[in-house]
């Protein structure tokens, strides 16, 4: 336990040190400007906290809530003072992890407590908006799981409430604190891949997404992910992370339209949400995100590919490849070059008609240590994927009161895109980004 704890703290400190160092190098300030939520996430800022601890409560102690509790128990500058869940078995399980925490079944009662500085919300999507708004209203700092909310109006209401408050608000987009994403996106922003010309994201699993239900009346409570009243399906549950990554890579640029198709292909078990989605998001400059998710075949796993004219990044694996960096043996490259010259000398046999077979590219690691690679299989989260660091940052912000720049905006954009995707699939037509949901942060 101690070594795991030490390991977590050293990851925390090494990322904080990396961010501090980045500020000191040429061009680093520009890179930090594209990840401004990290500006207070440095070793110096952490040491300024001295022995202070943020007093936090966890609302929703299901699987993600308990995963957060495990991470929170390892963070020195916070303590868990209260827990809330309206499903007693989950509340009891969480209580075993932190026996000193006071327990509640009604979150509104919890919000009345003056002994709580901030709340961590890990409830089903339909509860995000009411809980975030009530918690901000009660003067609490808030960390809420992604996606932002179930509807676009709720997202807008949260965004507007955030403009009015001096409280801190975070959303559980842990990739914003994942070393391989931070370094990968910074490499992309520094021009390593050239111009971004396309993006391909997919998330494949072979799992029905169901959880066992002790009695039938609990079906919609426990399997909330499967019903539109409480879930945005694959888009909000999985796609929200990936669309955020695309927008992050594009530097606040937001797609102007989306079209797509969604179906229940395999898991015809009474669920309402699609188990198969394919969407195309289009930016004003013609760049597209191809998004695909399927939960009845896991062959392709999960990946976020950013395609540039000079290279490709596979951010989930923490790898990048360069277009002019063929890793084939020299003799094979020579033969290919001669063959290309011969073919291009024949007018009808130019490269336009020859099918491009996938070449072998040499993978370069974005970060040496590839721990924390998220295969996409887990429903709760991967180890060392930034989930612990984002909580560490949130707890720090609860003490200092310093708002994290851009996190709310990133969550807002990603969630609206997910919901527009769902609308496009439901209405089977191209949806253009509505004026009423545009915010100044967005560039089109």
């Amino acid at each position: 336990m101690t070594s795991k704890k030490q390991n977590k703290q050293s990851v925390d400190l090494s990322l904080r040190q990396f961010i501090k160092d980045l500020g000191g190098i040429a061009g680093g300030t520009a890179l930090l400007a594209s990840t401004p939520w990290l500006q207070s996430f440095t070793v110096d800022k952490l040491s300024e906290l001295k022995k202070e601890k943020a007093r936090l409560a966890v609302i929703g102690t299901g699987s993600r809530g308990q995963y957060h509790i495990h991470n929170m128990l390892d963070i020195e500058h916070l303590e868990i003072v209260a827990l809330c869940d309206n499903y007693i078995p989950n509340l009891k399980d969480a209580s075993v992890l932190c026996p000193k925490a006071k327990t509640y079944t009604d979150y509104k009662k919890l919000l009345e407590s003056s002994e709580i500085d901030g709340v961590v919300i890990a409830t089903p999507l339909n509860w995000h908006a009411p809980m975030v708004l009530d918690a901000l209203d009660a003067g609490k700092h808030v960390f809420c799981e992604k996606a932002m909310a179930l509807t676009m109006d709720e997202c807008k209401a949260i965004y507007e409430a955030y403009q009015q408050t001096d409280r801190v608000l975070y959303f559980g987009l842990q990739q914003l604190f994942d070393e391989k994403y931070i370094k990968g996106i910074q490499m992309i922003h520094s021009g390593l891949l050239g111009d971004i010309v396309g993006m391909r994201c997919h998330w494949f699993r072979n799992h029905d997404w169901r959880r066992p239900v002790p009695s039938p009346e609990l079906e919609r409570k426990i399997n909330w992910r499967l019903y539109w009243e409480s879930s945005g399906g694959l888009m909000t549950e999985l796609g929200s992370h990936q669309l955020e990554i695309c927008n992050w890579a594009m530097g606040q640029r937001v797609p102007v339209s989306v079209s797509g198709m969604g179906d229940i292909v395999y898991w015809k078990d009474g669920r309402e949400v699609y188990d198969s989605v394919n969407l195309v998001y289009r930016y004003a400059n013609g760049v597209k995100i191809n998004y695909e998710s399927l939960i009845s075949n896991k062959f392709n796993g999960m990946e976020n590919q950013i395609l540039g004219n000079r290279g490709t990044a596979e951010l989930a694996q923490g790898l990048y490849y360069l277009e002019d960096d063929d890793a084939s043996p020299a003799i094979q490259q020579l033969i290919a070059e001669i063959r290309d010259k011969v073919f291009s000398a024949i007018p009808a046999a130019g490269p336009s008609w020859r099918s491009e077979t996938k070449g072998k590219y040499k993978p370069y690691a974005i970060v040496k240590n590839t721990a924390g690679v998220h295969s996409g299989a887990s429903m709760i989260g991967a180890d060392a994927d930034g989930s612990d660091l984002i909580l560490s940052s949130f707890a720090q912000a609860c003490i200092t009161g310093e708002k994290a720049k851009n996190i709310v905006e990133e969550a807002y954009v990603a969630t609206i895109l997910c919901l527009l995707g769902n609308q496009a699939m439901a209405e089977q037509k191209t949806i253009y980004f509505p004026e009423e949901y545009r915010i100044p942060y967005m560039k089109f």
Binding site: D326, P329, A330, I331, Q332, Q333, L334, I335
Partner: protein, 78 residues
């Protein structure tokens, strides 16, 4: 039917030509390794390609020699 007799001298000559072809193929690989800046191990690991190139060169050479033989024969008949 006429018997074709391959003399030991002939075999030696053909093997020598094949060896020269192999050396040329290795030289091509070395040039490619330098130009594409890949690993020197490829001289060994890409032996299959080198042998294939050597055989191609050998057969090109063979065709040239056969053609030369027939052309000389036609001219010598005149």
């Amino acid at each position: 039917m006429r018997n074709i007799i391959i003399t030991p001298k002939r075999i030696k000559k053909e093997l020598l030509i094949l060896l020269v072809c192999l050396l040329i193929a290795i030289a091509v690989n070395i040039a490619a390794i330098i130009s594409y800046q890949t690993s020197w191990w490829e001289i060994l690991t890409q032996m299959g390609y080198e042998i294939a190139i050597a055989l191609v060169l050998y057969f090109i050479f063979l065709i040239v020699r056969v053609l030369k033989f027939f052309i000389l024969k036609i001219f010598s008949k005149k």
